[in-house]
Structure formats: structure tokens, C-alpha cells
Symmetry: D2
Subunit: 343 residues, 4 copies
Amino acid sequence: MIKVGIVGGTGYTGVELLRLLLRHEAVALTQITSRGEAGRRLDDLFPNLRGATDLAFTDPADAALAECDVVFFATPHNVAMQTVPGLIEAGVRVIDLSADYRLRHVPTWEQWYGEPHTSPDLCALAVYGLPEVNRPAIKEAQLVACPGCYPTSVQLGFLPLLERQLVDTDHLIASSASGASGAGRQGKIANLLTEAGDSFKAYGVGGHRHLPEIEQGLAAIAQSSVNLTFVPHLVPMSRGIHSTLFATLVDTAGDLQGLFEQRYKDEPFVDVLPAGQLPETRSVRGANACQIAVTRPQGRSTVVVTAVIDNLVKGAAGQAVQCMNLMFDLPETQGLNVIALMP
Amino acid sequence: MIKVGIVGGTGYTGVELLRLLLRHEAVALTQITSRGEAGRRLDDLFPNLRGATDLAFTDPADAALAECDVVFFATPHNVAMQTVPGLIEAGVRVIDLSADYRLRHVPTWEQWYGEPHTSPDLCALAVYGLPEVNRPAIKEAQLVACPGCYPTSVQLGFLPLLERQLVDTDHLIASSASGASGAGRQGKIANLLTEAGDSFKAYGVGGHRHLPEIEQGLAAIAQSSVNLTFVPHLVPMSRGIHSTLFATLVDTAGDLQGLFEQRYKDEPFVDVLPAGQLPETRSVRGANACQIAVTRPQGRSTVVVTAVIDNLVKGAAGQAVQCMNLMFDLPETQGLNVIALMP
Amino acid sequence: MIKVGIVGGTGYTGVELLRLLLRHEAVALTQITSRGEAGRRLDDLFPNLRGATDLAFTDPADAALAECDVVFFATPHNVAMQTVPGLIEAGVRVIDLSADYRLRHVPTWEQWYGEPHTSPDLCALAVYGLPEVNRPAIKEAQLVACPGCYPTSVQLGFLPLLERQLVDTDHLIASSASGASGAGRQGKIANLLTEAGDSFKAYGVGGHRHLPEIEQGLAAIAQSSVNLTFVPHLVPMSRGIHSTLFATLVDTAGDLQGLFEQRYKDEPFVDVLPAGQLPETRSVRGANACQIAVTRPQGRSTVVVTAVIDNLVKGAAGQAVQCMNLMFDLPETQGLNVIALMP
Amino acid sequence: MIKVGIVGGTGYTGVELLRLLLRHEAVALTQITSRGEAGRRLDDLFPNLRGATDLAFTDPADAALAECDVVFFATPHNVAMQTVPGLIEAGVRVIDLSADYRLRHVPTWEQWYGEPHTSPDLCALAVYGLPEVNRPAIKEAQLVACPGCYPTSVQLGFLPLLERQLVDTDHLIASSASGASGAGRQGKIANLLTEAGDSFKAYGVGGHRHLPEIEQGLAAIAQSSVNLTFVPHLVPMSRGIHSTLFATLVDTAGDLQGLFEQRYKDEPFVDVLPAGQLPETRSVRGANACQIAVTRPQGRSTVVVTAVIDNLVKGAAGQAVQCMNLMFDLPETQGLNVIALMP
């Protein structure tokens, strides 16, 4: 059994990790920390866990994290980078679901997050945890930086086009939409049911922190510089991300449907829909899946890719467990073959 | 492996059965019928099933149902009673999720459903599939009539009070509320997002078909006649039933919290919340669980019980699988220890 | 033109008052205060007001409230009672939408609100602003205490039965449900879209602050003591209250439909639906209307009344404007004949 | 008083027209037809209209439409073109909210709608009812073809850029999202709360009927051919359209914020938000308003415009009333200065 610890288990990413790890047959969850909820039973905070665990939150200061085989960080940015260096030194493997180690270029991180990075050396060590791109490196990694939710959907959608240099990388466009759980479990007026419900809006058009992460990933895939215009939107639903991607084809001769199917045919969690079908976020609710469609409207030169994931699963906790499975030589799908909840 | 067939798999109860049975390790799903969708792949109709099955719907006329060990009926009322007699004769076990065999008194059934019952003899044979009441009989049953969703929540909520004769059975009140999946997957204007969304209403106040079923069950529990006023409501959400039950205590001396905890302490799927907590439907979304709280506001003589289930799981497909586990001597919880999806 | 001030305009009751008063032809809105938002334009906080007003919030300390003809308080409880005495002394009329002056019995107020009342004398002066009960007194009042949202729906629903002593007042039951705007515009986790959305729950079963207000009102109507069991629920929608009321008839001879129609035939904002119809909250969204249905299921002795209002209109801002119209001898419906928004 | 008739009043556009016209002081609504609901009171079908009208639906065959000053068609496509020619001949003015007369090029209409046009001659007579583009022609028009909901938002968003030839018209992109009322009031499974709720998807990527209408409008504005990639999405909400528009600037020197503000400064129903603010659909719920923001992310060459309307108001019924006001020399804003409902 793999001894697992979780730092910061009171957010939506945390409770989703719990849902998956408490049913993962190779995992023994031994520690879960929270400064604010130390001593409180998990199932008191999250009644959906009643019957599934008797654990209580531990104060981070008291947690025996160094005794774990792997520690997940499900914290806001800026927290992991304080604690991870010590764990790395102690030989513990770390899967960070926050943004702290996603950007390789430290000054870019510092510019977008508005503060100095306190463990910049580890940024080079960290492996970006997108298995469809980095599977071999993830297996060997000691520190995995899990991709953000928007970045997962955008990178998986553009990937086949960029790998084959089929599109103009100077004018990529991503119009993405997320359910409200993407904003976290914090008491902000903007995320009240009465504010975010029955409405739709764009936000962060001037600059969202996922932009540099996506551009870094797309550039690595394309092996060239890229310019992305990224507009996220807030949807009145709990879970799900839908990315609508636009690019101008520089080569219109190819069979795009075949290209996508071929690229992802061996990927257990990326599913190219049959031609003519379009994905819906609800088809992957609760599942570690990305469903993708590729279309060329009116046969023109603009290609449209639509991709959906559950932001808390393939966009966060599920992808983290997928990385863990790779790191510990478990079947990649173990604990993850959950069927999406519909309706 | 138990060979399982499903009749009528295109509704919400059907797809929920599929979600559970396709991951049940003792089950081999061999047949699923639909007159309207015969030949179509399941995962074409329900994209959440992609990767989980290659089955297609079969025309009922062509289905080899008699070769199954057990057949589930996930059909509207009036369908099962046409086909079940033949299966019973062939020795197949049947779990009917529809209303056809729920009422023991055939004239009452005919009055509420407005048509003659075509296999009235089987009504006496059928075992009412509420394991918390009828576990031994379910194990032996050839034909199980699964309870309706409202009836499950109302009966589990009143049960400890009625078994102990603690309340006035002449004036029981159930104010229940259901998500829209309770209305089924049919194209009715009243159930459009634009009609049922962002609104709340009572319906069927003059008489709902679940009333005679609930009264039959409560009377059996109380061993006396009962009068229930039952008001169902429609909630703008997909899944979940919440029942708020009111009764006048004839004996106010007892420890109600202790009574409920004691009654359900060995039940794997009924969970009495700690005193002071109240259940929410989302805590059981996707799970085969009933969460219950009992309260005596202001210390007066009216007791209030609130109970939640997922109408498609403990109120339908999950309860049916629980019955199947009992009928085939499997662990009662097999395939059902799913953690609810939150948020 | 009536010079109007508003204290506390940043909540949902405040913005709803603005929507109504900015289109009321007899009103000149001159002051609107907010400590937190002083100096900010109203339409910056509430973009739905763009084009409707150029006003900005004023610091309460700087507001010339004493120069107004009437001041509305749209504040949390405990605020009005600090400022109202001075305004009353200055001859200003006050319409308080908060709870401060709703209870005539000061010790009861202090018990439920957990603090001393700082202007207890005014509790006797205040007129309870339910026009269907207190119209003459409201016309003459200097201080109106507007009813809470739940209390409005429950009192209007029980009123005809209680006035005629038709029901057992010892066991009244109200199972009510409210949209999330009833919880106010504050950043609380429990009211996030991700928490309150797609779920349904009861709350405050042990005791809600609206209980003593409702019992006070029902007792006044019935001219006798009453015992009410009141269970509020949270519905995943923005606006609307639905109350399902249960009582045992002590006289079952009467024509309840006729009684309700007769009682409300001259009320401009209470609408008894034709027999057989049931109200939905969306039918009154944005309108100052209460729609009511009365039913006697199975012809038994339990009568069921269902009543809907928009909690922010007939349950708050609209009722306050209706009171203002009465106080200033305007047509009672002026500024209030808005048609509900559907869908 | 203008004598007004409505053909097809049972859909969402119809009930919205009723909400506006029943409160319009210059209008006498005399006829409203429906084949299916003839004889039924309007307020029986739409309880939000109780107290606002005593009218009943008339069978189209019996309606005295020729006696009206103006007739609105709130019908599916293919209906108006059967009846409009007779009305035009009788000298009645017509405002068609359907798609029948929106396209000037009849073969294009026939290609996208898959049937012959039965009154092609009137396509040239019809004036496209977008006042911000065609105000003078609308005033004189006998037949107005009201724009579709998506087309209104997309054209108003691109208009200032196209009029000044600032963008590459070969690669325009519109990623739009609509509430479910855009799909109409018909009992289709795809629009059930249980299907469209709590989910997000694109649809019609291969080709939506609004595409040729938008391209025709944009080309007229730009005075050049245009290529638009248009992807509509379905949002789990009742009302509202949000369009996110992308274009490549061919001239990056200008002050885009100033350009938009200048272009719309005299438009009563188009509102350019201050720099840095982004529109939300709820800010215009129920109002005849379009709120717009223009942004140039990262100072790059891609300009992003976001625009919101209420699809049933500025996208349908409100715009139709605005056209009527122009046609009958009424103040353009009469009956339309409703403040949006928030929350």
C-alpha cells in the first residue's frame, strides 16, 4: 500500500482527491492537513464522506508528512513552495495540484503571481503532469506539477494540430468556460448562487494566470513560439470545463478526424468523439475523461476543436491520481474507471 | 457471473442501472432492450458510457430474456405486467422498478392507474423491495417490486416512529421535494429547463400515485391504518429527493435521536446524522444512501424528520441492485459503495 | 414628489428597492447610504442600474436623512434601531425592512436576536406592514415594520382559515422554501453556487427567527394562541418563496375555495388561483404578487394551502413600496404593476 | 392607440411581447392567435399575466388581423411567409420576429431552411430591424424583419470595428452562448432541465442558421465580404446571450474604447461599459439593453469584444417593440425603460 498524505484538504480539489483516493485499492490515506479545520472529522465537513473514512484533519505542524510515500498538495498557490523543499529533501514524492511549480521560467511566475518564488530551484526539477505529453518523465519524477484545469483542456485540444504544425501558431484562440467550482470553496460574493447563477460572463480577459502556463505547454508541443488569446467564462454549473478552440489551418489537405483519432487511440482518458458529435461537460462529470471533437465549419480554413473535462477530475484530482499511478508503477487507470454521473 | 437483462434502458433509471451494473464485478450484462432505440449503441445515446460498454439496444421481441438469471424492468408502469408473467414462468427472477407490482390490493392499483391490471395474480407473489423492512423476503423472492423514490424516503423517515407507535397515525404529513429526473426522460414542456428551472412548485396535491404505495407501506410498518397527507414539490435540480415529515407525538418521553440511531445502526445504507445536523440532497448524489435527521422543534409535540436520497439510486437503481445482491447471496453492498459526488 | 432616502442599499433588498423606486413616478430618490461603498456609483456596484441613475452611495454620517419625507431601512437587524429614534423625533416617516421592530414583545425579540433592543419604546409605535391585515393603521403610521418574507407568505396563506376559526391552531405546520437571495448578499460558503446549487435542504428546523414573528401575526389574526411548526428550506434558485401550509379542519363543511376568493377579491396583490391550479414561484418573479391555492386532499380533514411570493418584492421591497403608497395617499398599486418575468 | 395583433403567442417570444405590450401606454392589444390554444385565456397558459389581461387566444382563421395597425409574428420560420403577403396587401404593417424575411438572397434562405420561400418578392421589401444600423429605413418600413438573437449581439459587437475597417474580415470569430429559452417552448428531450441543466456544450458548429444572417449583416456594415466562424453554445440558464468576438486588428494604433463609446453614445439601448469592466448576462435580464466591452489582451493584435443581451428582449420582443416605436413615431424608448431584474 502506498502511504499518502494530503496537504490542504478543505477545498473542492481536496474533497475530490478524497473521493478518489478513499476508493483506490493501492492507497492508504494516512494524513490530511488543514490549519483551519485541525481536529475536525472529514465527514463532518464533507457529509458525502460519511461511512467512507474516520479520519480527521491534522494541523500541518503535527503531520508526519515525511513518512508518506507521496504527498499531494491541494492548496492555493504560494503554500506548496514553502513545504515542498523539505519533503523533496526527505525523499518524499510530491504531486502539487497548485500553480507553484507549473512554470519553468521563474520570472514569469513571479510576474503573474506578484511575489517572489521561494523555491525556484525546484521549478526545473518539477515535471509537468500531463501524461499525454510527459508520460515517461512523470514515471520517474519526484515532483510533479499538475496542470491547471483550463490548461489541460486547451493543450489536449490543440495538441494533434500543433505536433503536426498544421496551424498558424501566432493567432491561436481559446474561448473556455468553467463551472463555479473552478473558483474554489471560498466565501466570495461573486461566486454566490445569487451572483453566478442564471448568468454567464467572461472574466480575466485582460490576463488570466493560466495563460502563461498554456502558452508554455503549447510552445513545447509545437516546438515554436505561440500566441494565444485566452478568454475564460463562468458557467452557472458546479463542475466542468468546455474549451472551444480556434486556429487557422496552414495546411487544409489533411483528415483532421483521423489525425485526432490516431493521436489519442492509446490514451485511456482522451476520447475523440465520432465525426458529427460534440461533447458536453455532463458526459464527463465525475470521470477522469477528456472528450474531444474537431470540426472545420463550412470547409473553411478555420478549424474548431471543442474539448470537455471535469475540472476537478481530469483537470485536477483525477489527473493527479493518474500521475501517482504512473509514478508508482500501478495500472494507469487504477481507481479512475468511474463512469460519469448522468444526468 | 450473474447474467443480467434490462428491459427499457433509455430512461434515467435505465442509464443509472447501467452505471452501476457495468461496474459490478459479479454481473454480466447481456441484454438491454428498447423498442425505439433497437440497434443503437448505448454509448451513442449516453456518451457518459463511452469506454464502458460496446453493447447496443435490442428489440424486445428479439431479446433472449429467458436466458438471464435476473431481468430488471426500468419501464413506465403498464409495461412490466405484460412481460413479467412469462419470465416468472420460465424461472427467471425479476426486479421491477416500475409501479406495476407495488400495490398488493389490485383494485387500488386499477383505481390509481386507471386501467385493468393484466397480471393481478403476481401482485401477491411480489415482494416489496425495501430491504430495511423486507430483507428476508427479498432474499427468497422471485419477483421484487422496487419502491418508488418518494415512498423510499417517506417510509425510511417514519419507520422508527411507527414501529414503536410513537405518533398519531391519523394525521401524518409528508412534504417532499424532488429533482427533475423524477419526471423521467420525456420531452414534456413542463420539464424544460426554461419551465422547471429557477422555480419551485407543489404538484399533485390532490392525489399522487405514490400516496397509496406509501400508505400501504406505513400501515404495514405501524400495524394499523394510517392517513397521510402527501405533497410533492419540484426542485430545479437534476437529482435528489428531500422529504420533510411531520407527526404528532403521542408519547413525548423518548429519546428520538437514540431511537433512530439504534434502529438503523446495522443498516449499510441508512445513516442517521448526529443531532443538530440536517441532510442535504447533494450529500447523497450518486450514492445508495439515505441520510436522516430527527428534530423536535421548540420541544413541542410535533416531531420533524428530514430524509434525503438520490431518487435514481436509493430511490431506484441502487435499491434494485441492493435487492439483487440480496437475492443472489452477494455482499449487500457490492457495487454500491460509491462516494457521493460533491460538489 | 416624495423625497426618499434608503439606508443600506448594497444588499438584494436594497437593489430591489432601487429598481422599484427609480421607476416610481411620485418618488425622488435623494439619498442612499452605505458605509462600505460610500462614494461609489450605484451602477458601478449594480450594472443593471446603468442608465437609470447617476447617484452614488453616501456615508451614513453625511446623509441628510432628516430632510427626507420617508426613509427605508434595508439593513441587517440591529442597524435600524440605532438610527430610527432620531428620525422619528425629526418627524421623518420610516419604513424598516429589517427585523428590528417586527416583534411587539421586546423580551421575545431580545431572546431570538441575542442582544438588548436599543429602542424598545418604538416597538409599540411600529405598525406591522402587512396591508392585507393592517391597511388603516399603515396609512397613519410613522414607523412601519415590514414583514419578513416567510412570514408574509405564511400569514397570507393561513389568514382566511384563521379569521374564520376553521382550523386547529395548536398544530399548524408551514413547510416553506426560499431562493438563495433570502440569505442576503454576503460572502458565505454555504451560499456559493457550488454549495447551494443543485441541492435542497431544510435549515433552522430547531428554531428560525421568523417563527416568533409568524406566530405573533397568526395569533393576532386568529384572536387566539397558536402553535406553528415552521421548517424553511433552501432552493437552488435566486428568488421566490413557496409555502406549503397544513392544518386540521375543525369544521369541514365550508367551501374553502369560495372563502379564499371572497376574502381576497379586493386585494390588488393577492391572487387566489382557480380551483385545480397550483402556484409556481416563477409566476411572480419580480412582481408584487402573492398567488395562493387551497386544496383538501382526498377530502380528508387536513387542508393544504400553497402560497408563492417573490421574497424580494411582496416579501420585502415591493411590500415596502406598497406601504409607502398607503402612507402617502398614493394609489396603492403605483409603481408596482410590473408583470412577472417568465421564463 | 395603436391596434396591435400578435400571431403565435404561445412561445417565449410571444409571452415576452405580451409582457411589454400590455404595459405599453400607446398600444391596444386586440388580437392574439394560436391554433393550438384557441379559446384559452392567456393567463391560464401564462399565470404571470394574471391581472394584466382578460384576453384569450383566437384561432388564426377567425382573427381580424387586417383591422390591426401592426401585426407581430412570433412564430417559427415558415409561418409568417404564408400570411404576411395578404396583410401587406391590406396595408397592415408587419413586424416579423421569425427568420422568414431576414435574408435578402432568397436562394440562400432556401438552402439553409430547406424549403422554397413562398413569398420571395417581399424579401426585398423587408427592412432588417436593427435600429442601430437601419433606423431611418425602419421608420418608413411596412415590413420589418427583426434580427435573430445571436445576430443582434454579434453585429452590435463587431459594428464599430467593421465600420472603420480596423480588422481582418476574412477570419472573424464569434463564440456565443445562449440560455435555453433560445430553443423555444417545445417539448424536446435535449432542452429538459435534466439534459441542459448543469452542463455546457457547443452545438451547430458545422453550420447554424444564424450564420448567413450574421454574415449578410456584417458584410453590409463592412462594405466588403466577410468570413465568420460562428460557434453557439448552450448555457444552463433561462435567458441571456453572451457573445465573445475575436478579430485580428489590421490597424493597432486606435483607441478602441473611445471608438466604441463614440459610436454608441446616442444609442438608447447600447451601453459601452467603462474600460476594465466586463458584461454579464444577468445585468440585462428583462431589459432591452446591450452591454459591450472591448479589450486587447496583452496588447496583442487580437481584439476581443464581449457583448450581452437578453435574447428575448433586445434579441427579440424588445427590439420588435423598439422598431414599432420607430414605425409609429413614438419615443423610441416608450414601454422599454424597464430595469433589469437582479439577482
